[in-house]
Amino acid sequence: MTTVSLSGGPEPAVRAAVVSAPARTLERAWWQTHNAQRKIFGYTLLAPAALYVLLLVGAPFLFSLWLAVSDANVGDPVARFIGLENFRSAWEMDTFWIAMQNSVVFLVVAAIFKSLLGTSLAFLLLQNFRGKKLIRGLVVIPFTLPIAVSVLSWKWMYDSQFSVINWVLFHAGLIGGYGSESWPIWLGQPQLALAACIAVNVWRNFPFSAIVLLAGFTSVPLEVLDAAKVDGCTFFQRFRHVVVPMIFPILMIGLLFDTVFTLSDLSVVYLLTQGGPGNASKILPVLAYQIGIQAGNLGRGAAIALFLVPLLLPALFLVLRNLKRREY
């Protein structure tokens, strides 16, 4: 039975026993300290995400690195190390350089259009008008539709004979009839084919840009904008000198996502043209798929796919560096 003193603490004898006990029994184990427990709690929360990234991103990435330096093909369970042979082989292909060039054009042109359209749409959606919520819901439809469905619809709209776009242009008197020189063959003329693929990519993804920008715009305090107005700033000055700096981190993250989505967009080009006519719309993901999966050269396909990394790394570096600077 424990004796309790009037002051509320243990009896002096007990206190003495406690004091005379070895020091280590008083110290708590390191994991019991407040700081350690906070850290453990933090890491526990982080663990699922980290595990997810390691297993589903890190491991496949490392595996693709191995494939790229091996002679792996789909029918052979054993792969040998061949160094940079796959990269050299890709480097020597005409088609690879065409695909690289198309990828860059695809990325830059699509990014420009998505920025313009996304910004315009975001501003429109900021205005107050009847049915605003409905319109906000509708504009994300292209982004949420299954890609196969939407791209097949576009394929019909681009059909060489039954194109609804051409039908409208013809009835507007802008082009001649089917079979005439001015009848556009959207997926059959090299420049038009790439432009057609870019248009579908823009159509699919600019609502995403708009939503990202909209989220940024709504986070800008009205007082700041009002103050800028009082100071005599025009709309574009407010946008350039107030809004953009304040939503810069969001813009950067949006840009990063968009770059990754665009550069790895296999589906649109593959479903519309398979890279044709004559490689005119071939981009790196399509070439990597054709060589790696369809032709069975996993090693060379992986090497071609990895050429995307040098394209993505600068964007990633710039974005992260800018974000870090802003933090200070």
């Binding site: 789909v74 059909d159 063959i185 043209t273 044709g276 006519p277």
Partner: protein, 444 residues
């Protein structure tokens, strides 16, 4: 009175080993006979599951029949059969995934892109089944074995192939006083004559399955080849190839519109069905589409034998379809028995596909063939087996050729010529691609 002594018989000399041998053979033979008589599979496949992966057929009714057919076979033999259909372009990726995982379907379908040589080390040797079916059905057509034979063994079963004959508008030809397109030259004259009247022709100057098939039919009929019969040496750089490219360029300039640069596998179907095209070189799905969508045009659409090249040679490159069984398949026995049963009902497959599926077995060509033999316009399809070829002709469908096909190198060569690039430059580019691919596989 009978002699009470036991009669001496041979049995007295039968030892235990002989008894077991004779009895075992008797039981096995008896079981086999019983099994054959009952037309049922042996008991060991009962209670198992058979998983089949196949393409979504261009004739949906065939898929409906096939699924029912597989289920009925399964019900009869106590096997649970599951058939998965996916688009044919996804088959190579799916096959790669199953190979990597070492698990998946028992039977796997290959369409157009036949991957036997790529995967044969992981496929069941079906030589016995191949021979058994051949003997039972009058042998295989000459081109069949090139698809599945590797080092003298057979690692797949050719099930059916799809022909791409000439589909031409007789009414338009007659109005212009043109002869039927029995040769490529006559086809060119027709295109040249009918294009100004609003009826051009079209062949795919694009990257699609039909482009790979059609340009090879033209090239081979002109006497050209991609590789020699061994499949090891490149033959694309030849005067025949140059002649074919010159012909293709003239055909394009005189008889086509630029829309052919955008064509996919279904575009020429629509082109014919719309009433615009004077002829196309395509599978009879185009003929069937026209039948369903534009009956007046269908009435005037006729089918011709593969046009002859300058020296009279006819080679029709067809889209092959082959079944394979994985070595890691859990139900190999049921897979083999189902495939034999399917081949025994090959005729029904022709009927259900409305004459789209062409047999690989000689008995399948006994005239009149179902559907094809009863339609006067389609009867000519019965004469194709001797001129049918597959990718790799005159050799096997090797892995380098498979890569050439999958990267659309040959259609790209024709596309470049069609766009006006110099033939020698195109040949240089094409040879570069062929050499790079062949040398890589040789090193491997």
């Amino acid at each position: 009175m009978s002699d009470p002594r036991p009669v001496q018989t041979a049995l007295s000399t039968l030892n235990r080993r002989k008894f077991l041998t004779v009895a075992g053979a008797g039981v096995a033979g008896g079981s086999l006979l019983t099994m054959l008589e009952a037309r049922q599979a042996p008991a060991q496949i009962k209670g198992t599951t058979l998983r089949i992966l196949q393409w979504s057929h261009f004739i949906p009714a065939y898929d409906a029949w096939y699924d029912k057919f597989a289920k009925e076979w399964g019900d009869k033999n106590g096997v649970k059969v599951r058939v998965d259909h996916i688009p044919h372009l996804e088959l190579p990726a799916r096959m790669a995934a199953e190979f990597a995982a070492g698990a998946g379907h028992d039977i796997i379908h290959n369409g157009s892109s036949i991957l036997t040589r790529l995967y044969y080390k992981s496929l069941v040797d079906l030589s016995d089944t191949y021979d058994q079916i051949g003997k039972k059905h009058g042998g295989w057509i000459p081109a069949a074995k090139s698809l599945v034979e590797v080092e003298g063994r057979y690692y797949g079963l050719p099930i059916y192939h799809i022909l791409l004959p000439m589909l031409w508008r007789k009414d338009l030809f007659d109005q212009a006083g043109l002869k039927a397109p029995d040769t490529w030259e006559l086809a060119r004259v027709a295109a040249r004559t009918l294009k100004p009247k609003g009826h051009p022709t079209g062949m795919h100057f694009s990257q699609c399955a039909d482009a790979n098939l059609n340009w090879r039919s033209l090239l081979f009929s002109f006497g050209g080849a991609e590789a020699d019969p061994s499949g090891d040496n490149i033959l694309i750089d030849s005067k025949e190839t140059r002649e074919t490219m010159r012909f293709a360029k003239a055909l394009f300039d005189e008889g086509m519109t630029p829309e052919v640069f955008s064509w996919d596998d279904a575009s020429d179907n629509r082109f014919l069905a719309s009433g615009v095209g004077c002829w196309i070189h395509d599978a009879i799905s185009a003929y069937r589409t026209t039948e369903d969508t534009n009956p007046p045009v269908f009435q005037n659409t006729h089918i011709a034998l593969e046009p002859a090249g300058p020296s009279g040679k006819r080679v029709s490159v067809a889209a092959a379809n082959v079944w394979m069984v994985w070595k890691f398949a859990k139900n190999q026995q049921a897979a083999k028995e189902f495939l034999v049963h399917l081949m025994d009902n090959d005729r029904e497959g022709v009927i259900q596909s409305r004459g789209y599926n062409m047999p690989y077995i000689n008995d399948g060509y006994k005239k009149p063939m179902p559907v094809i033999g009863t339609d006067p316009k389609m009867q000519v399809l019965q004469d194709f087996p001797k001129i049918v070829a597959f990718f790799g002709y005159p050799g096997p469908f090797t892995t380098p050729i498979q890569e050439v096909v999958n990267l659309y190198v040959l259609p790209d060569m024709f596309t470049r010529v069609g766009r006006g690039q110099n033939i020698e430059d195109v040949m240089k580019w094409g040879m570069g691609e062929y050499r790079r691919i062949f040398s890589k596989h040789k090193r491997a």
